[in-house]
């Protein structure tokens, strides 16, 4: 907001001293009172208003208090803001970011704990980002706000608000590779006739492999907070069971790009996908489908670990039974090797 006067922050209860339900916007209304707008409880309306602002040259950032409430603005996302650039023949852009917390493990119950990005990741014209603790979420958010001319849905797993960004230099256990898609650098003129929107990527996938270990036997694909749980499971598998597993942590869920896991799966021929959303018809299913298309019979084994196809119960013990945990990951891997 300091570097670009076009940036506005819009959302419910975001003013100081409260600073938003999860305190992400704390201090903004004091520093930028004219560009921090607290709103009525009107998720659809504020997404639409931000879209209008973006179409007229501003760069609004919307906070939706709980990701569960994104459904209230689904028409604005699906029929409006993601459509404009394409259906207006690339003569407009909609540079806005919708930030929202998803995820459970806080006992908030069926309508405040869901992982709903699967509803939006198949929507063309929308970039869906989900940071993990392996990258700096703030840095990624700044890129999305200032550099991306297209709409971004920025998924913040609410359990991560209390976690520190990992200092990767202190990780002696893992060799870490960052994988970024190279920009195709197409000219604007070419883009006009290009089917594929949003080709310039900036969200890295992180490839973790156990250092100085034998070749890995399984590849895990995951994102968001599940990356932390996978890392714990993989360390336990290595130290307690001498099973070595690669993890590829995606940051960009949509537009979909399979390449970050190709090298690893080509080596292991075994793939486990781990996500916090419900299992059926989800992100993991797409990963496995793509890998199957690419590898055919070379892929020896694939499995999905995800939330049960149920609403999230409020009771913490019940919630734990619905959401995938570290033990589930260990069990799944052991079944595959």
């Amino acid at each position: 907001m300091n570097s670009d006067e076009r940036v506005y922050v819009i959302g419910e209860d975001i003013l100081d001293p409260y600073g938003g339900a999860f305190k992400v916007t704390q201090g903004l209304s004091t520093a930028f009172p004219e560009r921090t707008i607290t709103t009525p409880v009107s998720e659809a309306g504020i997404i639409g208003i931000a879209t209008g602002m973006a179409l007229r040259g501003l760069r609004p950032v919307i906070e939706i208090m709980f990701g569960d409430f994104l459904t209230l603005g689904a028409d604005q996302v699906i029929n409006h803001l993601t459509k404009f650039r394409y259906m207006y023949n690339d003569r407009v852009c909609v540079p806005l970011v919708i930030r929202t917390p998803m995820g459970g493990r806080r006992g908030y119950g069926p309508t405040h704990s869901q992982t709903l990005e699967k509803i939006f990741i198949g929507s063309p014209g929308l970039r869906v980002l989900a940071p993990s603790t392996l990258i700096d979420p703030g840095e990624l958010l700044i890129k999305a706000i200032l550099m991306d001319d297209d709409p971004v849905l920025f998924i913040e797993n609410k359990i991560m608000y209390s976690r520190m960004v990992q200092n990767k230099d202190e990780w002696n256990d893992f060799k870490i590779t960052s994988i970024v898609r190279e920009s195709k650098s197409i000219t604007k003129e070419e883009k006009k006739t290009d089917l594929e929107l949003l080709t310039d990527d900036y969200a890295p996938a992180i490839h973790l492999t156990i250092r100085d270990a034998p070749a890995p036997s399984v590849t895990i694909a995951t994102y968001g907070h599940m990356a932390d749980l996978c890392r714990m499971a993989v360390l336990e598998l290595a130290y307690e069971h001498e099973i070595f597993v690669d993890i590829v942590v995606f940051t960009q869920l949509s537009p979909f790009w399979i390449n970050p896991i190709l090298d690893s799966v080509n080596l292991t021929n075994k793939l486990l996908v781990v996500e916090e959303g419900t299992k059926t018809l989800g992100w993991g299913a797409e990963i496995i489908a793509r890998i199957t298309e690419i590898m055919g019979p070379e892929l020896r084994s694939a499995a999905r670990l995800a939330a049960k196809d149920l609403p999230i119960p409020a009771s913490i013990p019940l919630e734990e039974m619905v959401l995938p945990g570290v033990d589930d990951i260990i069990r799944s891997i052991k079944k595959m090797v």
Binding site: Y8, I37, T39, P40, S42, A44, G45, I46, I47, G48, I49, A50, T51, G52, M53, A54, L55, R56, G57, L58, D75, Q76, N79, H80, K83, F84, Y86, M87, Y88, N89, R91, V92, K184, E190, K192, T193, D194, L195, E196
Partner: protein, 312 residues
């Protein structure tokens, strides 16, 4: 987009009257051509024509200035042409051609040119128009935004979210509510409780209500509203009770033919305005427009079809 609102002398007044007639007649002929030619297979998909409502777009948009923004709905051809959009490009867009307004990607309901935007989901454009008006305010520009809505959109909750925020945050916007008293096939008596004025006054948005097909009256009343918005930078509304002479889209009119015939005799904005014109002038305008429409249609027809997507 010219400022035609100040008719101080008879001459200017006459010129204004002729141009308003021309603008309405262009929309009438365009829409008739679309409906007539749909069966010949030149157009894709569906369409919603503006027949009978021409005075609304023409009257209101005769007051706008360059830089003002127009946000339209599914029934957008009349708004687009009255705004100054190119007729040949609109034909081409309906034909799905690369030379169309949006290269054939948008079609009838999804148009954008200059500061004109339309989309086909009822009510969904209201917050976007409000956001545009606010953005212009934040940028200290003098532009105002015109948001066209139909009575059908009154059933959408997002409209009331938009009215609330437009009023709360002083958006310089004119909501033009075209009440043609029928939503697709459902008459307003079956889908609307209360009245429309109260819907605006509940949010402290001042509105005027007109029941007329007179383009001059619509022009002068909307001029008042727009002047107030320019001065106060606050929202206003104008409710235009109107009649749709054609079907909702194509061939889906369930109203009795006699009722439509009566409407065409009593509420036709073109007949009303034609009476004010010199007969020779009127014929000249009609001849020019007929030629323009037929040229635009033929030219659009001769333009190439999409040649496929570029592959990497």
């Amino acid at each position: 987009m010219k400022d035609r609102s100040k008719f101080r002398t008879d001459q200017i007044s006459n010129e204004n009257g002729v141009e308003l007639y021309r603008s309405m007649f262009r929309i009438r002929r365009f829409e008739e051509t679309v409906l007539n030619e749909f069966s010949s297979g030149h157009f894709y998909g569906t369409t919603h024509t503006y027949l009978g409502q021409e005075a609304n777009a023409v009257g209101v948009l005769s007051n706008i200035e360059s830089g003002d923004i127009v946000v339209s709905n599914h029934r957008s051809h009349g708004h687009f042409l009255a705004y100054g959009g190119d007729m040949r490009e609109l034909f081409a867009e309906l034909m799905g051609k690369p030379s169309g307004v949006c290269g054939g990607r948008g079609g009838s309901q999804h148009l954008h040119w200059n500061n004109f935007y339309s989309n086909g989901v009822l009510g969904g454009t209201a917050p976007i128009a409000t956001g545009m008006a606010l953005a212009e305010s934040f940028k200290d520009s003098n532009s105002i935004t015109i948001s066209f809505l139909g009575d059908g959109a009154l059933g959408e909750g997002i409209l009331y979210e938009s009215f609330n925020m437009a009023s709360l945050w002083n958006a310089p916007i004119l909501f033009v509510l075209e009440n043609n008293r029928i939503a697709q096939t459902t008459p307003i008596e079956l889908n609307l409780a209360g009245n429309i004025v109260d819907r605006f006054s509940a949010f402290d948005i001042h509105s005027q209500e007109l029941d007329t097909s007179d383009v001059l009256l619509i022009q002068s009343k909307s001029h008042q509203a727009i002047s107030i918005i320019r001065e106060t930078r606050k929202p206003q509304a104008i409710i235009l009770n109107t009649y749709r002479f054609g079907p909702h889209s194509k061939g889906d009119d369930t109203r009795p033919e006699e009722a439509l015939t009566k409407l065409r005799e009593t509420r036709d904005p073109l007949l009303l305005q034609a009476e004010r014109l010199n007969e020779r002038k009127k014929e000249q305008v009609e001849k020019e427009v007929n030629l323009e429409v037929s040229h635009a249609f033929q030219q659009a027809l001769s333009e190439p079809e999409p040649s496929g997507f570029r592959s990497d």
